[in-house]
Symmetry: C2
Subunit: 740 residues, 2 copies
C-alpha cells in the first residue's frame, strides 16, 4: 500500500506539540517565583495536589490494571463466538483489547499528571508576574495551561496512531479501527474516576470551607485561619484541571476511533469503485487533528496584548487564530485526502467540498456554543440578571429562577445540536458515497467529519480551561501572601476571565459529546454487525439477522432506554451526595481545629492544612467508587439482560438524557455563580435605585444559589460528560458480550 505523504502530519504534529509543551513548561518554570510568602503557600498547595494525585492515580491505576485483566479474560472467553482472523503480537483479540485499554489509560494518566504538575507550578509564577505585568501574567497562566492542552491532545493523537499502527493499521486499515476501541475505553475509564474524584474533592473542599468558615466562624472567604482553604485551592487543580483534561482526552480519543470505524464503511466503497488511497478515509481523523495541533501552536504566539487591555481579548485573539488556521487545515486535508480520483456525485460537486462543509459545521458549532454559554452564564445578559432580580425576594426565588434558567438552556442547546447534525448529515449524504447495496454512508461520515472539525481546536480550548484554575490559584496565593494591591487587582481580573473560560469549556465539551453521540452510536452498530457477519460466515448464526435498526418499539429497547435516562439522574444523585458527605468530613475536622487549637483565631497558631487535605483526599477517593461502579456496571447488566439491540437504545437515550442534564447542571450552576458576582459588582438596585451589594439580603440569597450550583456545575455536570462517553466506549468494547 502506497501511503499519501500527508500522513506524515500525524507524527510530526504530535511530536511537535510535545516538544512545544516541553518548551512552554521550561518557559513557565524559569519565570520569577515571587516572594517567600507566595512560595510558602504555593508549596503547600503543591504538596496537597501531589498527595492527592499520587493517591488518586494509584487507586485508578489499580482499577485500570484490574480492568485490563477483566477485559482481556472476558473478551477472550466470548471470542469463541467471534472469529478472529488476524493476530498481532501473538495475542488474541481479548488481550489486544486489554492492551489497548491499558495504553489508553496510561496515556490519559500521564497527560493528566504532567499537566497538573505544571499547573500547580504556574499558579505561583502567575501570581509573581502579576506583581509587575498583566500581559506577562496572562502569558504565564496561558502557557501553563497550554502544557496540559498540548499534552492531552498530542498523547491522544500519538496514542491512537501508535496502537493503530501496532495493530496493523498500515496493512489492514479496515480491521484495525475495531481492534483499538479498548484505547477509548481505557481513556474513558480513567476520565470517569479522575473527574469524579477531582470533582468531589474540589467541591467538598469549597462547600466545606465556606460552611465552616464563612457561615459558622464568620471569617472571610480564603482566610488563612480556615484550614480548609488550602484544600479548596488544591481542589481547583485536581478538579477543574486534571478532571477536564481527562475528559477531553477521552473525547478526542473515543471520537477519533469512532470516526475511523465509520471511515471503514467509506473505505469499502473506495475499494469497490477503485478510488486511489482508500485508506485515506480511515486516516482522515488523525490527519485533521494533526493540523488542529499545528494551528494551535501558531496561535499561542498571538496570545499577547497591551497592559490596559481586557485579558479575555488576548485569549479570544488566540482562539480565532486557531479557528481560522483550522479552517485552512481542514480545506487542505479534505482536498488532499478526499479530492483525488473519487467519482463526481450526481450534483457535480466533488466529495471533498461537501465534507469540507461538514467540517465547517463542526467548527461553527463550537463557536456557537461559546457564545450560547456566554449568553446564559455571563452577567450582562437576561438570564443572570433575572436570577439576581429574583434574589431580592430571598433564596427560594433565587433557586426557582436559577432552575428555570438551567432548564431553559436545553432548548437552544438541543436545537443547535439538531441543526448541526442535520446539516452535517445532509452535506455528507450529497458526497456520492453510495455502496453496491445502494446505502448512502456519506451522511453518517459527514457527522464524523463535523466532530473532527470541532475537535481541531481542543488543545486551545483546554489551555483556556486550565487558565481558569491557574488564575484562581494565583488569586488565592496573592490573597494568602498579602501581596501588594496591584498584584491582587491583576489576579482578580484574570480570575474573572478564568471563570468565563471554564464555563466555555464545559459548553464545548457538551457540544462535542452530543455531536459525537450519533457517530459513536453508528460505530457501535458497525461493530456489532462486523461480529454478526463473522458469525454468519462461520455458520454459527442465521443469515439475515444483522442489526438493521435500533427499534424503540421493541419492548427491550424501550426498557433499556428508560434505564439509560434513569442512569444519568441516579449517577448525578450519587455524585452530588458524595460532595455533601465528603464536605461533612472536612467540616468536622476544621471545627476540631478551631476548638483544640485556640491560637488559630488570633493568628498565633498555624492551622493543620495538611490534615484537611489528607482527609479530603481520602473522603473524595472513597466517595468516587460508588458512582463510578454504577456507571460501569449498569450498561453491562442491561446488555447482559436485554441484549445488543437494547443496549444500543440505552446508549442513545442515555446520551440524550445525559447531555441535557449536564447542560442544565452546568449552565444553571454557572448562572447562579455569576448572579452572585453580578450583585457583588454592585449592578443590582432596589426600586429606589439603591445598590444591593455585598452584605445585602439579596447577596445572601445569591450565595445560597452559588453554593447549590457548585456541585452541579463542577461535580455532577462534568462527570456526566464522561459518563456519556463511557457508555459509548464500554458498549463498543463489550459488544461481543451482549450479542444474542
Amino acid at each position: 500500500m502506497e501511503l499519501q505523504p500527508i500522513l506524515w502530519v500525524i507524527p510530526i504534529a504530535g511530536l511537535a506539540a510535545i516538544a512545544f509543551a516541553i518548551y512552554l513548561a521550561w518557559d513557565v518554570l524559569r519565570a520569577d517565583t515571587g516572594t517567600v510568602a507566595m512560595q510558602d503557600i504555593a508549596g503547600t498547595i503543591y504538596e496537597g495536589a501531589v498527595a492527592f494525585i499520587r493517591r488518586q492515580y494509584q487507586t485508578i491505576g489499580i482499577l485500570a490494571i484490574g480492568g485490563t485483566v477483566v477485559i482481556g479474560l472476558v473478551i477472550t472467553l466470548v471470542e469463541g463466538r467471534e472469529v478472529a482472523d488476524t493476530q498481532y503480537f501473538g495475542l488474541d483479540l481479548g488481550w489486544r483489547t486489554g492492551l489497548a485499554f491499558l495504553v489508553g489509560a496510561a496515556c490519559s494518566m500521564a497527560s493528566g499528571i504532567i499537566g497538573m504538575l505544571i499547573s500547580v507550578k504556574a499558579n505561583l509564577r502567575t501570581a509573581a508576574a502579576a506583581q509587575h505585568s498583566l500581559v506577562r501574567a496572562v502569558q504565564v497562566a496561558m502557557r501553563g495551561g497550554a502544557v496540559s492542552g498540548f499534552l492531552v491532545v498530542a498523547l491522544s493523537l500519538l496514542g491512537v496512531f501508535g496502537i493503530f499502527a501496532a495493530f496493523g493499521g498500515f496493512t489492514n486499515p479496515e480491521e484495525a479501527p475495531f481492534l483499538i476501541v479498548g484505547f477509548g475505553f481505557g481513556a474513558s475509564f480513567v476520565a470517569l474516576f479522575a473527574q469524579l474524584g477531582g470533582g468531589i474533592y474540589t467541591k467538598a473542599a469549597d462547600v466545606g470551607a465556606d460552611l465552616v468558615g464563612k457561615v459558622e466562624a464568620g471569617i472571610p472567604e480564603d482566610d488563612p485561619r480556615n484550614a480548609a482553604v488550602v484544600a479548596d485551592l488544591v481542589g481547583d487543580n485536581v478538579g477543574d484541571c486534571a478532571g477536564r483534561g481527562a475528559d477531553l482526552f477521552e473525547s478526542t480519543a473515543a471520537e477519533n476511533i469512532g470516526a475511523m470505524i465509520l471511515g471503514v464503511a467509506v473505505w469499502r466503497i473506495a475499494v469497490e469503485l477503485g478510488w486511489p488511497n482508500p485508506e485515506a478515509w480511515i486516516f482522515f481523523p488523525l490527519v485533521v487533528r494533526g493540523f488542529g495541533l499545528l494551528a494551535t501552536i501558531v496561535a499561542m504566539f498571538f496570545v499577547r496584548g497591551r497592559e490596559d487591555e481586557n485579558p479575555m481579548n488576548m485569549l479570544n485573539r488566540g482562539y480565532w487564530v486557531t479557528t481560522l488556521l483550522s479552517v485552512a487545515g481542514l480545506a487542505l486535508t479534505t482536498y488532499v485526502m478526499m479530492g483525488t480520483g473519487t467519482d463526481l456525485p450526481d450534483n457535480g460537486i466533488p466529495a471533498w467540498v461537501w465534507f469540507f462543509g461538514a467540517g465547517i459545521v463542526g467548527l461553527t458549532t463550537s463557536v456557537a456554543f461559546v457564545y450560547i454559554t456566554q449568553y446564559y452564564t455571563a452577567g450582562s445578559f437576561r438570564p443572570v440578571r433575572e436570577i439576581a432580580e429574583a434574589s431580592k425576594t430571598g433564596p427560594a426565588t433565587n433557586i426557582i429562577s436559577g432552575t428555570a434558567v438551567g432548564f431553559e438552556t436545553t432548548a437552544v442547546t438541543a436545537i443547535t445540536i439538531g441543526i448541526a447534525l442535520f446539516a452535517s448529515f445532509t452535506l455528507g449524504s450529497q458526497a456520492g458515497l453510495i455502496n453496491e447495496a445502494g446505502d448512502n454512508v456519506g451522511g453518517i461520515f459527514g457527522t464524523a467529519v463535523a466532530t473532527m472539525g470541532m475537535l481541531m481546536t481542543t488543545a486551545f480550548i483546554l489551555a483556556m480551561d486550565t487558565f481558569g484554575p491557574i488564575t484562581d490559584n494565583a488569586g488565592g496565593i496573592a490573597e494568602f501572601s498579602k501581596a501588594e494591591a496591584k498584584a491582587r487587582e491583576i489576579t482578580d481580573r484574570l480570575d474573572a476571565v478564568g471563570n468565563t473560560t471554564k464555563a466555555l469549556t464545559k459548553g464545548y465539551a457538551i457540544a462535542s459529546a452530543s455531536l459525537a453521540a450519533f457517530l459513536l452510536f453508528s460505530a457501535y452498530i458497525d461493530k456489532v454487525n462486523l461480529i454478526l457477519e463473522r458469525q454468519i460466515d462461520a455458520g454459527i448464526r442465521e443469515a439475515g439477522t444483522l442489526l438493521e435498526s435500533v427499534d424503540l418499539a421493541n419492548v427491550n429497547v424501550f426498557i433499556a432506554a428508560l434505564l439509560g435516562a434513569m442512569l444519568v439522574y441516579f449517577f448525578s444523585s450519587l455524585a452530588i451526595r458524595a460532595v455533601g458527605t465528603a464536605a461533612q468530613a472536612i467540616i468536622v475536622e476544621v471545627r476540631r481545629q478551631f476548638r483544640e487549637m485556640p491560637g488559630i483565631m488570633d493568628y498565633t497558631q498555624r492551622p493543620d492544612y495538611a490534615r484537611v487535605v489528607d482527609i479530603t483526599t481520602r473522603a473524595a477517593l472513597r466517595q468516587m467508587i460508588l458512582p463510578g461502579t454504577v456507571a460501569v456496571a449498569t450498561p453491562i447488566i442491561v446488555g447482559l439482560l436485554l441484549g445488543h439491540e437494547a443496549v444500543a437504545g440505552m446508549l442513545m437515550v442515555g446520551t440524550i438524557a445525559g447531555v441535557l442534564l449536564a447542560t442544565v447542571l452546568n449552565n444553571g450552576g454557572g448562572a447562579w455563580d455569576n448572579a452572585k458576582k453580578y450583585i457583588e459588582s454592585g449592578q443590582l438596585k432596589d426600586e429606589n435605585g439603591i445598590v444591593l451589594g455585598k452584605g445585602s439580603d439579596a447577596h445572601a440569597a445569591a450565595v445560597v444559589g452559588d453554593t447549590v450550583g457548585d456541585p452541579f456545575k463542577d461535580t455532577a455536570g462534568p462527570s456526566l460528560h464522561v459518563l456519556v462517553k463511557l457508555l459509548a466506549t464500554i458498549t463498543l468494547v463489550l459488544a461481543p458480550l451482549f450479542i444474542r
Copy 2:
C-alpha cells in the same frame, strides 16, 4: 353480530357511578354548614373558585372550539391522502375527529367543573363536621372527593363508549377505535390548560402569600390580614382538584382508546382463527373499567372507622377493598371475554389466565408506587430525614440534598416500570395470539391489559386525591373562622393525611403514564400503518413501505428524540417561570393593600380578597398560554419537518424524559415539604439532643426548600404528566399530517 351480555356492564356501571355521584353530592350538600364565620370565609373561597373556573373554562372552551375547527379542516384537507371508506353522521373523517375532540373536551370540562363545585361546598361541611366527629369529617371530605372521582371516570367511560358506538363500534368494531382518537386529544387538550392554569394559580398564590405575608410583613401563615391567603385557598381547589381530575380524565380516556386500538390486532387474529366474539378484545378495556367503577362504589361504604383511629387507615381500608374487588372483576372479565373458544397456546394454559396475570401486574404496580412514593416523601424514612439533617447547615445544603433525593427517586421508578412492562409483555406473549404472518401480538396487548388493570382503581385514587384540597381548605376555614380547638385539631389531622394522599396520586399518575406510554406508542404505529396500508391499496404509495420499526439510528429520529427530551425541560422551565411572574403580580397588589389600607394590620379594615383573586386569575390564565402553545406546537412542527417515524421517536423519548423529570420534581418537592413538617413536628435534634423546631435556623432552611419544591411538585410536575399524554394523543390524531 351477537354481543356478549357482559358488555352491559359498561353503561350500567357508568350510569350507576353517575347516580352514586349525585347521591354523594346530595349527601354532602345536606350536611351541617357550621358557624356564620365559617360560612363567610367559605363563601369567599367559593366565589373566588367560581370566578376562576368561569374565566378559565371560557378561555379553554374558546381554545377547544378553535381546536375543533382546525382539526376538522386539517384532517379533511390531508384526507385525500387517506382513503376513508366509512361515513357516520354524513361526516368525513376530519369532522368526525373534530366532533370526537369536542365531545372529549366537553366531557373533561363538565367533570372538572361539577367535581370542583362540589369540592368547594364539601370543604365548609368538612370543617363543620370536624366540630363534632372525626369519622363524619372524613366521610364528608371523602364523599365530596368521590363526586369528582366518579364523575371523571364515568364520563370518560361513557364518553368513549358513546362516541365509539356512534361511530359504528357495534357494526365495525375494528374501524371505530381509530375514529375516536380525537376524544383522547380533546381530553388532553383541556387537561393541559386546566392543569397549567390551575397549577400556576395555586402556586403563585401560595408563593406570593408566603413571601409578602410571612417574609415581608412578618405575619403568620393563613393570617386573614393577608389578602393573598384566600387566593391560596382557592388555589388548592383549582390546582389540585380540577387539575388532577382533568389529568386522570385524559389518562383513562387516552389509555382506553389506545388499548382498543391494540385490541384490533387481536380481533384480526380472532377473526382469522374463527374464535367466537372477536369484538370482545376491543370492548375489553371498557368492560374492565366498568367493573373497576362498581368495585369503587362498594368500597366507598368501607370508608369508616373509630373516632380515635388514624384517618389514613379508613382510606386505606377503602383502597384495599377497591383493589381486591378489582381483582375479582378482572378475573371475571378476562375469563368471560378471553376464555371462550380461543385456541390453547402451546404451553397448555388458556389465554385468559395469562392476561389475568398481566392485569394483576398493573394492579400490583399501582400498589408498589403507593409505597414507593410514601418511602420517598414521608417523614419517617431515610430520604426526608436526610434532607432535614442537611437543613442544619443552611438552605444551600437543604437544596442540594433535596435535589439528590429527587434525582435518586428515578432509579426505583424506572426499575419498577421496567419490570412491570417486561412482566406484562412476557405474560401476554405466552397467550398464543399469533397472526398468520407469525407475529405475536399478545405481548403488547399484555401491556395494555396491565394498564387497564391499573386504571380500575382510578375513581378511588382520585377521590383520595380530592380529599387533599378539601381537608386543606377545611383547615384554612377552621383557622380563618377561629373555630374551637377540637375542630382545628381534627382538621390538622385530616390535612396531614391529605398531604400523603396528594403525593400518592402523583405517583399513581406517573406510573399509569409510563405504563401507558408503550401502549400509546404502539397504537400510534398501528394507526400510521393503517393509513399507509390504505395508501398502498389505493396505489398512491409503494408497497413495502410500512412503519416496521422506529429506528434510533436514523438521524431524523435521533434529532426528534433529542428535541422530545428537550421539550420536557423547556416546558417545565416555562411553567416554573410562570409561577414566579404571577406571584410577582400578587405581591405587588398585597403590598399596595398594606400601604393604602392601614386598617388591615389592626383588623379594623377588611382586605380586598376579591381583587387579589381576580389578579391571580388573570395572571395565571395569561401565563398558561405560552407553555400550552409550546406543548401543542412542538410535536406538530417536528412531525411536519421530520416525518412520521421521527415523531414516533420524539413521542417515545419525550415520554421517558417527561416521566423521569416529573418523578424528580414531584418527589423532590414532596420530600422538601415533609422535611419541613418533620422539623416542625420536633423530630430533628442537634448534636446535644436539643430539638431544632419551628423558628430554628434549620427550620428556616427547610422553609426555603419547601418553597422551591412548591412549583416543582404542584405546577411543573403534574403538567408534565399531561404533556406526556398530550404528545401521545396529538400524534395519534395528527398522524395523517406527518406521513411522508
